[in-house]
């Protein structure tokens, strides 16, 4: 997994609430047996017409907005547990998703793929949407070490929560599986003590 330390980037705004993983990557794209290429179908039904041409009014097709931070309305990633949603977001080139609320499984899946979910207050989120509407080049800075998120257009900053273990994993690019494999003896001891 890639390391994540600090990032400053312009953002792609998606002010929709309850964006479920069926929107992030529709089920018909889940037939693959590897993790490649999902970025092309990120938000497929919002992004493309039936004939495959881009829908002009969708934000990913609007060259005014770009960057490696996706900013979305509350309860992002609800629904299906498909990790393909995290692969699609990562594959498209987003390293961070900012929202006021995330669904549990999506949050885990994102972290397991080096995509950082950053939870901000509803007010902070509304201000980010306002900043980017006023100036599409407005940037955010995400500093994982200090657990801070800054709206550089307003200078306002918030701290975000991440558990110490997951933070270490991201800072060092380590997977959970490395940790679990190092615990084989304890697992066997647990099994025989039952």
């Amino acid at each position: 997994m890639e390391k994540f330390i600090k990032l400053t980037s312009s953002v792609v705004p998606l002010p929709i609430e309850n964006v479920d993983t069926d929107q992030i990557i529709p089920a018909r794209f889940l037939k693959a047996t590897n993790k490649d290429g999902f970025g092309d179908n990120l938000f497929a039904d919002w992004r493309y017409n039936k004939d495959g041409s881009p829908k002009a009014d969708f934000v990913l097709n609007n060259s005014t907005f770009s960057g490696s931070i996706l900013v979305a309305g509350k309860n992002f990633g609800s629904g299906s547990s498909r990790e393909h949603a995290a692969w699609a977001i990562d594959g498209y080139g987003f390293k961070v998703v900012v929202s006021s609320f995330f669904a549990d499984i999506f949050q885990n899946n994102a972290l397991n793929n080096g995509v950082l979910p950053v939870v901000v207050s509803a007010d902070f989120l509304a201000e980010v949407f306002a900043s980017v509407t006023a100036d599409p080049k407005a940037t955010l800075t995400i500093d994982l070490e200090n657990q801070s998120v800054t709206n550089n257009a307003t200078g306002k900053s918030e701290t975000f929560v991440i558990n110490a273990y997951k933070k270490e994993c991201l800072l060092n690019g380590l997977d959970d599986i490395d940790y679990l494999l190092s615990k084989k003896t304890q697992i066997e001891a647990y099994e025989s003590a039952r």
Binding site: K74, A103, L181
Partner: protein
């Protein structure tokens, strides 16, 4: 004093990471073809074996056709995924593999319990959010991502932060014509689609106790639709009677030992929850959804909320949702014409759902304007439908049965509702495009689905 959740969780802690999650031991892992191939690739890349092959049960269900299952799968990409699944089960020597066509094949959350793989007190995971279904037995069961599937295959453990606990109590009795699905849709409409995020929910109260195992599975299945990690119900005689005698259930002396333990699995009096909610079962009427998430539900006789009833931050999403559905704020939906009916899925594809549907349509005829897909959750359910004579009644009423699988619930196969068409579905999600690009889903229980199938309209099954 502990809650039921605490008791099961504590019994499965292998270690706790400092400042981080718990290393939780997993008793039963269910696995399907769609969310597992990348996990097996991960094992291969690291040169790992499956740690406990007999603790993983595999079935193909999501990406499978519901007709001509004895023929080669036509879609080459789907076929490749199914072949990969087969190859992985064989290469990693997994004995409990039930491919397409196998007598034990079916929807993962249906074949698990019916074959006796699901036990009280167990920890159960699957790369599928509706794993919460198994909580009906008094188990900690939750959906995981593919990275975690790899972890379970490699170590029989996952790293999880301990969830907060919530208890939702349903006092009183459900009215006639009101099903477990209605109870769940009512609850989700009250909590919203993110209202239980971060929680494990214990369901309690008279109305829950009175539910059969099938109905309890429907309720626990839908826990995820309000964001909960999972839901669970304390095991009781209903649970023990269901599990006893099933093929993979404990037998003989082991059964007695397990049973004695299972009887201790209930929340201690005085144990506290992080959140408690109480509802009156008598307030619930048959439910339908009107929007594009399962929290957007209402009683079948009610009207869609008007814009001023929605908080400001949510109005864009709300309008987008109604526009997609082709509905107006403030509108009533009873009597509205529909095009498709889907009976099936891990939510309502069990024998009781087919019994309820069949009892309603008996002696009536399917409406001409309705395409009805009746998809049993498993071959075992299919067999019961025939043995109990339901098949003949359904045929007489103009219905046909399809073969088991997830089918139109997520429309990975050909069972897609066409764009713009309305489907009354007993499945679990009414998300945009869930049942096919542009498809408009109205979630409901098996009785509302039956009523819609014979009238061709959204119809209250009680009248």
């Amino acid at each position: 004093m502990k809650t039921l959740f605490d008791k099961i969780w504590d019994a499965h802690v292998v270690s706790t990471v400092e400042g981080g999650p718990t290393q939780l031991y997993i008793d039963r892992h269910f696995c399907h073809e769609v969310t597992s191939p990348q996990a097996f690739n991960g094992l291969r890349a690291r040169g790992l074996k499956v740690f406990r092959p007999e603790q993983t049960t595999l079935t193909a269900d999501h990406n499978t056709p519901t007709i001509d299952q004895d023929q080669p799968v036509k879609d080459p990409i789907s076929k490749n995924q199914l072949d990969t699944f087969h190859q992985n089960a064989s290469e990693f020597k997994l004995p409990l593999y039930f491919p397409l066509g196998h007598i034990k094949n079916g929807v993962v959350h249906i074949i698990g319990p019916e074959n006796g793989f699901t036990h009280p007190g167990a920890t159960i995971v699957c790369g599928d959010s509706h794993t919460s279904t198994h909580g009906a037995f008094g188990a900690i069961a939750f959906g995981i991502g593919t990275s975690e599937v790899e972890m379970v295959l490699a170590t029989q453990c996952v790293l999880q932060s301990r969830a907060k606990t919530m208890r939702i109590t349903f006092n009183g009795k459900l009215g006639a014509g009101v099903t477990a699905k209605d109870l769940a849709l009512y609850m989700i409409s009250k909590l919203t689609t993110g209202g239980a995020t971060g929680y494990f929910v214990e369901y309690a109260g008279e109305a829950i106790r009175n539910l059969s195992m099938e109905e309890r599975m429907t309720v626990c299945n839908l826990s995820i639709e309000m964001g909960a990690r999972g839901g669970l119900i304390a095991p009781d005689q209903t649970t023990f009677d269901y599990v006893n005698g099933r093929e993979f259930a404990p037998k003989g002396e082991e059964w007695e030992t397990k049973l004695a333990y299972w009887k201790t699995l209930k929340t201690d009096e005085g144990a506290t929850f992080d959140k408690e909610l109480v509802f009156d079962a008598a307030d619930i009427q048959p439910m339908i959804t009107y929007g594009t998430n399962p929290g957007m539900g209402m009683g079948i006789t009610e009207a869609i909320p008007t814009l001023d009833q929605i908080d400001e931050a949510g109005r864009i999403s709300y309008q987008k949702s109604l526009e997609y559905m082709g509905f107006e704020a403030g509108e009533k939906l009873e009597g509205k014409a529909i095009d498709y009916v889907f009976l099936g899925s891990c939510t309502n594809g069990r024998i009781e759902d087919f019994r309820a549907f069949t009892a309603f349509v008996k002696g009536k005829k399917k409406a001409d304007n309705v395409v009805a897909w009746l998809v049993p959750g498993s071959w075992m359910v299919e067999k019961q439908i025939r043995e109990e004579g339901l098949y003949d009644i359904l045929t007489e009423a103009g219905f046909a049965l399809r073969q088991p699988g997830c089918s139109a619930c997520l429309a990975m196969n050909d069972d897609k509702v066409p764009a713009g068409k309305y489907a009354v579905s007993t499945s679990n999600r009414n998300f945009e495009g869930r049942q096919g690009p542009g498809a408009r889903t109205i979630l409901a229980g098996p009785l509302v689905a039956a009523a819609a199938a014979v009238t061709g309209r959204i119809t209250d099954p009680r009248v």
